[in-house]
């Protein structure tokens, strides 16, 4: 990768650290959670020292993720408010997936797809946190009626599967759009990248210049 003094800053160090905290805890939660999801994934518990350890650790890691996620939510929610342009972008998402972005409406810091993903992740995280507390047998389940525990078990599994799908899309989109991953590592993107993928954001921070 070419580093250039003219590169644009997209994320601050603390934003990046926050994102990594969420990312690492998500991976740990995904691997330990799949252990309980279906027998096919049960051997994943070995990564955590066995089934009992996976059961003990999962909810504590969940607390760390929930807190990190809340911090990230407050950093980014204003940038993810969906505008009419974003709706237009989403209505043409088929063209984007097809690899043709010529007619896509101009995206700001985030495009419509990224914003939709953001809000879907927020919804999953909220459901996972609330249902996760209810099914945390060691400390909280005794406080709730059995009907609610059963409902929460379903909600937790469904929201988790949803979140895994969303994150696969999120990660793939970042790999697919070349020059994006470095923003997560170093916080910078090239000017050309910004103009290509987020033209409105590019004009906003450069004042329209090169």
């Amino acid at each position: 990768m070419k580093r250039d003094p003219k590169d644009l800053a997209r994320y601050t160090a603390s934003e990046r650290a926050n994102h990594w905290a969420v990312g690492i805890t998500f991976i740990l939660l995904g691997l330990s959670g799949l252990t309980f999801f279906h027998p096919a994934f049960y051997p994943l518990n070995q990564l955590f020292g066995g089934g009992v350890w996976a059961r003990i650790l999962h909810p504590f890691i969940g607390v760390v993720m929930a807190l990190s996620f809340v911090a990230m939510f407050f950093r980014f929610w204003k940038l993810n408010v969906i505008t009419p342009t974003d709706k237009e972008w989403l209505s043409r998402i088929g063209e984007m997936v097809d690899g043709d972005d010529h007619n896509m409406p101009e995206a700001g810091k985030y495009n419509g797809g990224q914003k939709l993903l953001f809000w879907l992740l927020v919804a999953c995280m909220a459901l996972l946190t609330v249902s996760g507390i209810v099914i945390w047998r060691a400390y909280f389940s005794a406080l709730f009626p059995i009907g609610l525990i059963r409902l929460s078990s379903v909600v937790h599994a469904a929201a988790a599967a949803g979140m895994i799908v969303l994150i696969i899309v999120h990660v793939y989109a970042a790999i697919w759009t070349r020059g994006t991953i470095r923003a997560m590592w170093y916080g910078t993107v090239s000017r050309a990248w910004a103009k290509q993928h987020h033209p409105a954001w590019f004009r906003q921070i450069t004042g329209g210049g090169k």
Partner: protein, 292 residues
């Protein structure tokens, strides 16, 4: 605990066949509530045989002692004073514990392979060495029976004395019952025996006497003879028509394999998208613009 046997019908969190070559006769314990005097000998025998000594609790003003099932109290007499009709008080004493469902909700919910097994004789047994302590069995059970121990975070419940039954003996509670209110044998024989008891009770004025062998869970391997089979709730909340909750069915049914498949499809689909459409790169025109 684990028995060295090959007569397993179902095993928790296992998608391949269980070792099922050896077939044993379905057994059942029949508890005739009309004969129970509430002496708690069955509780004492259960403690004795299974080497369980629960903590001594406090009297909460009723005969139930201990107040609830626990990881160390696998069976419990529940006493309810019921005015079945105006001026007619009855003391209905139900020996509570695992019902050993033919379709066990605990086994369906358990995520740990082999932590819960169902023998071909119908006994549902917890193998605590495989238990991870998640409490999903509690979530799955329609009878509120399994208890997680505060001492070791493992789930415990009545084993129907699977260790005794495996060597041809009857469960400890059956052995000790002084009135013959608890009997044990082939499930078929127990149903026949119950029919005799029900006929007798009906002739004594209990028009609604009947056998409790709820079909919602495929029948149970612990059955009750009830004086008022039309109102099972009278017996300390015995459920009228227990079944595995639809929530548990959804949670543990076809949804998860489908979701797993969908996750895999999205991951593989992403890879193929990259291969077929190529990366989303900055166009040459824009790149040139920024080259000095």
């Amino acid at each position: 605990m684990a028995l060295q046997s090959l007569d397993i019908k179902a095993r928790s969190a296992t998608t391949t066949p269980s070792p099922a070559v050896r077939e044993t006769m379905p057994v059942a314990k029949l508890i005739d509530i009309s004969k129970c005097i509430g002496c708690k000998a069955c509780q004492a025998a259960c403690m004795e045989w299974n080497d369980l000594r629960d903590e001594v609790g406090t009297n909460v003003g009723v005969y139930d002692n201990p107040a609830d099932l626990s990881a160390k109290s696998w069976t419990l007499m529940r006493f309810s004073e019921v005015e079945v009709e105006q001026g007619k008080l009855e003391w209905l004493i139900r020996k509570d514990g695992c019902m050993h469902c033919a379709d066990p909700g605990c086994l369906k919910a358990c995520p740990a392979p082999g932590a819960i097994v169902q023998y071909s004789n119908g006994i549902v047994d917890f193998h605590e060495e495989n238990c991870i302590g998640c409490g999903y069995c509690v979530t799955g059970c329609p009878f509120n029976v399994p208890r997680i121990s505060a001492q070791d975070s493992k789930a415990y419940k009545c084993t129907l004395c699977s260790d005794r039954v495996a060597v041809g003996m009857e469960p400890a509670c059956v052995k000790t019952c002084p009135t013959g209110a608890i009997v044990f044998g082939a499930k078929e024989d127990m149903i026949t025996h119950a029919e005799g008891r029900v006929t007798d009770l009906k002739s004594r004025g209990y028009a609604n006497a009947g056998l409790y062998d709820p079909q919602g869970v495929g029948g149970t391997h612990v059955m009750y003879v009830l004086q008022h089979a039309d109102k099972p709730e009278l017996y300390s909340g015995l459920p009228r028509d227990p079944a595995i909750s639809p929530m548990v069915g959804l949670w543990k049914g076809v949804a998860k394999p489908l979701a797993s498949f969908a996750i895999g499809l999205v991951a593989i689909g992403s890879l193929f998208h990259y291969v077929m459409k190529g990366p989303n790169e900055v166009s040459k025109d824009i790149e040139k613009e920024f080259e000095e």
